[in-house]
Amino acid sequence: MIKINDLHVTVEDNEILKGINLTIKPGEVHAIMGPNGSGKSTLAKVIAGHPSYEVTKGSIEYTINNQAKDLLELEPDVRSKEGIFLGFQYPIEIPGISNLNFLQESFNEVCEYQGAPKMEEKEFLDFLQPKLEELKMTPAFLYRPVNDGFSGGEKKKNEILQLKILNPRLALLDETDSGLDVDALKVVAGGVNSFKTKFNSTLLITHYQRLLNYIEPDFVHILSCGKIVESGDKSLALKVEEKGYDWLA
């Protein structure tokens, strides 16, 4: 699905990522943990194509339907249309654009790109209804401006709603569990699990082992100071929970 090779990234002349190597295969769930400021969100944003980050070295190869693409050559909107989804650690508020309008524009862009018919508002609302119910979101969220005044947890649910609408191939979920109450965590985890198929992959960024009780990762990586310093199975997450990060050299 994605193959990251010796990735170096700088922002404003600071090197944040210092040689990341990571391969995620279709159907796999990977989790990345690591101290604050270690570069987890940077990695996710670079994969999604944020323009503020400069890739100084390395490559990202993205393969779907047996076709390999140089991801770094693609514009962010094209990456999204090609099936990459970033669930933001801090979802952006956009006053003035209604959530419904935003979701529908987004959905229809992907439809158009993939040669599927676009949906009119009414059809789109019918399509949304079960997804809202599953996430325990009221339709009122659709008519408010994008994330504007949403509580922390509501913003995260809105991200998962977008995940379900866009149905990507690779989901990068940056601390989607932070700020969620216990019930919401279950709902959100359910949303992520329902996305899981043998064709789709997930990269979870999290600080908490508890998320991994709900979404079982195949691999856990520790990112520290811009490098992956340790990889293992989910027992690594338990070790982090117990011992913190100090034991890592």
Binding site: F85, I92, I94, P95, I97
Partner: protein, 396 residues
């Protein structure tokens, strides 16, 4: 080049002398420093056949002016051309108000050249739609006194840029009654070869009067809007907001004065817009609070989004506050679209062009949605959407 006054009423000669005493403004004239207008006054204008404006289907109450300032139709409202003696006494009285500024030479010029002066009485409670046609190669000057009888009504003025050049100068006068709530929206669609002076005078000289002004400016080679609001009685509220969307070599100069002459009054002003290509925008926002006007609340905010390297925005708040127990806030920013907002939309498959269009729309709608009048809201939203589609393309 015009060398004498028009002959609509007697005092025009005096106003022309007033203009001549000061002469045309130049770059050093404070209130004209961003906008070079002199050449417009020196040009020869050759009026051709009038172009009529037509009416807007959305609104059943309307008055429309053709491109030479002649009134062509009216319905559900009374319109009359004032007689010379009536105009005379109107302006003699006006000269005694706090609006009168001896040194505003171009306003005196406008008065000296008025060829029509209308009185429009609107008895409806909804929206009175006025259409003004721009074009015909003409230099046009007319004024309108509004008399609005119902406690709450909206006046929509649309300037429709048809074809040809013009230097189109209009003034409008509102005098609000006690408890009256008037919305006044100007939508300007001048073409690049059309220039304008738009004067608005809103007098709030009764308790609890509310005047909500908004100009939505979509173009014009050189457009100067001068909204003046005098708030003279307690519990009154005045605002004049602006949204602009400029392309090509459009030039919009928004020069406003909001004056508080009474305590316990409020005013507000939000002026924002988008500049593309080589367009220019200048904002002067004067807020005056007189010495005895305690407990005044005044807010002003100006935000310009500059979408091209050659576009320019100038902004200057001018606060003159002589009372001490007042709240007055102001802020001004000039920048570009927020990179993280754009990225968020891009990361949701929305192309950069469409993302900009959506954000520009959101930006404009914020002001448009403040106009609490559903029909007008829908009308303005439609206008904005179609302008943005033209500018940013239908999809990609």
């Amino acid at each position: 080049m015009i060398e004498s006054a028009a002959t609509l009423f007697k005092d025009q000669t005096r106003y022309f002398q007033g203009f001549e005493k000061k002469g045309l403004p130049n770059r050093k004239t404070e209130r004209w420093k961003f906008t070079p207008v002199a050449s417009l006054y020196q040009k020869e204008w050759n009026p051709q056949a009038a172009i009529s404006a037509g009416e807007l289907d959305e609104f059943s109450d309307f008055v429309s002016f053709d491109s030479l300032g002649e009134l062509s139709k009216s319905k559900n409202c009374e319109v009359k051309k004032l007689k010379p003696s009536e105009i005379e006494s109107f302006f003699q009285q006006f000269e005694t108000t706090k609006f009168w500024q001896e040194d505003d030479s171009l306003f005196q010029w406008h008065l000296s050249q008025l060829d029509h002066f209308y009185h429009i009485k609107y008895t409806g409670e909804e929206t009175l739609s006025l259409t003004h046609s721009l074009g015909s190669g003409a230099l046009v000057n007319y004024g309108i006194v509004f008399e609005i009888t119902s406690p709450k009504a909206t006046v929509l003025e649309s300037f429709l840029g048809t074809r040809g050049q013009t230097y189109h100068q209009t003034s409008r006068f509102f005098d609000l009654k006690e408890n009256q709530d008037i919305k006044h929206v100007i939508v300007n669609e001048a073409t690049p070869e059309q220039s304008q002076q738009i004067w608005t005078f809103a007098n709030l000289d009764h308790d609890k009067a509310q005047y909500h002004g908004l100009q939505v400016n979509f173009g014009g080679g050189l457009v100067r809007s001068n909204p003046f609001i005098n708030i003279q009685k307690p519990h009154s509220f005045g605002e004049f907001n602006g949204f602009y969307f400029l392309t090509g070599a459009d030039h919009f100069d928004f020069y406003s004065q909001i004056k508080h002459f009474s305590g316990e009054t409020e005013s507000n002003q939000v002026v924002k817009g988008l500049l593309h290509d080589q367009s220019k925008f200048a904002f002067t926002g004067n807020i005056y609070i007189s010495k005895n006007s305690q407990l005044v609340n005044a807010a002003q905010f100006n935000k310009n989004l500059v979408m091209s390297n050659q576009a320019q925005a100038f902004g200057q708040p001018q606060l003159e506050i002589f009372a001490d127990d007042v709240k007055c806030s102001h802020g001004s920013t000039t920048g570009q679209f927020d990179i993280d907002e754009l990225f968020y939309l891009n990361a949701r498959a929305i192309s950069p062009t469409k993302a900009k269009r959506l954000m520009a729309q959101a930006y404009g709608l914020e002001l448009i949605q403040m106009v609490d009048n559903d029909v007008l809201n829908t009308y303005l939203t439609g206008k904005l959407t179609s302008k943005l589609k033209t500018a940013y393309g239908e999809s990609r």
